[in-house]
């Protein structure tokens, strides 16, 4: 098939509309590489096609642009999230010091010194409890003893 026949076959137009098969796409690429006539036609065709579609262009509402902007920035954040924190330069690390994260577990992490501190507090609380009970009962028995001695002293006077 010569270049003119290939142009008139409409394969290029079919490619623009998204109908071309892989074989046809390959054929188009080959023609572009080998034929300057075809390359010139491609440029001219693209210009005409763009002109045709620009004739029917309708300005979209301004809100659409904002939605696209929001989606684009969301995609950028998602892409950034794929990198580890240490991949980010230090200047950017400072900007990202505070992140809104949702924590979904019930565990907390504490320093390792909290373990002996907790054991010491536990042991001391037991020691104070025992000591407290010991002195409580001791003072109670002493008071009873004093009461008993008072009654013994007061009885012979009668």
């Amino acid at each position: 098939m010569n270049t003119q026949d290939f142009i008139e076959s409409g394969v290029l137009e079919s490619y623009l509309l998204g109908f071309a098969t892989e074989e046809e796409q390959h054929e188009i690429n080959q023609q572009i590489l080998t034929s300057s006539e075809f390359s010139e036609y491609v440029v001219e065709f693209e210009r005409n096609a763009q002109r045709y579609f620009l004739q029917n262009a309708v300005p979209p509402p301004p809100a659409t642009r904002e939605i696209i902007q929001l989606r684009a920035s969301k995609t950028d954040i998602e892409k950034a999230g794929k990198h580890t924190y240490y991949d980010i330069p230090r200047t950017e690390q400072k900007k990202e010091e505070y992140l809104n994260v949702e924590v979904n577990d019930t565990y907390i992490k504490v320093h390792k010194w909290w373990r002996p501190a907790f054991i010491a507090v536990f042991v001391l609380s037991k020691v104070f409890l025992i000591a407290g009970l010991y002195y409580y009962f001791k003072s109670a028995s002493q008071e009873k003893e004093i009461e008993k001695l008072r009654t013994e002293i007061s009885l012979p006077r009668r």
């Binding site: 076959s9 491609v42 262009a57 696209i68």
Partner: protein
Amino acid sequence: MNELERLNDNSGHPSVAKQTGPMTSLEVYDKYGAMAYGIILQIIPQPNLAQEVLVNVFSSPLLQSCNSYPFTFAACVIKLARSKAVEAKRKLMTIGSFSADGVHKEQETTPELIFDLAFRQGFSPEEVAEKLNISKSDVLKAFHEFFKSFPHA
């Protein structure tokens, strides 16, 4: 520079160098948003739905592949806008809230009709050929005739 790396900016110059850096989706939207919206409205004449499709086109990761597309960005946007709109139209047709135009059996098989069936109504060249009782190569030739018949400025 490759002949195909010419970008048409409607300035009338035969060749304009393709942008060196890749374009962001917003830059593409600013340049071709109105054209894409016009294409989508031709396929889905419902503004709310068309706007949704337009957002999908310019948020699509496929748009970034246009940076390495062998043809101009405009050609890539035309192709992408059409495919997204046809996809949305097909979904609507399966739900049943949208009915395809009737088959144009009685009408003359002009390049305009063939282009309308394929581009606006979303039929493949094979389906158009079957509907109109012509060969697939005739359908493709009609595409060529359609763009050839378009008045040059």
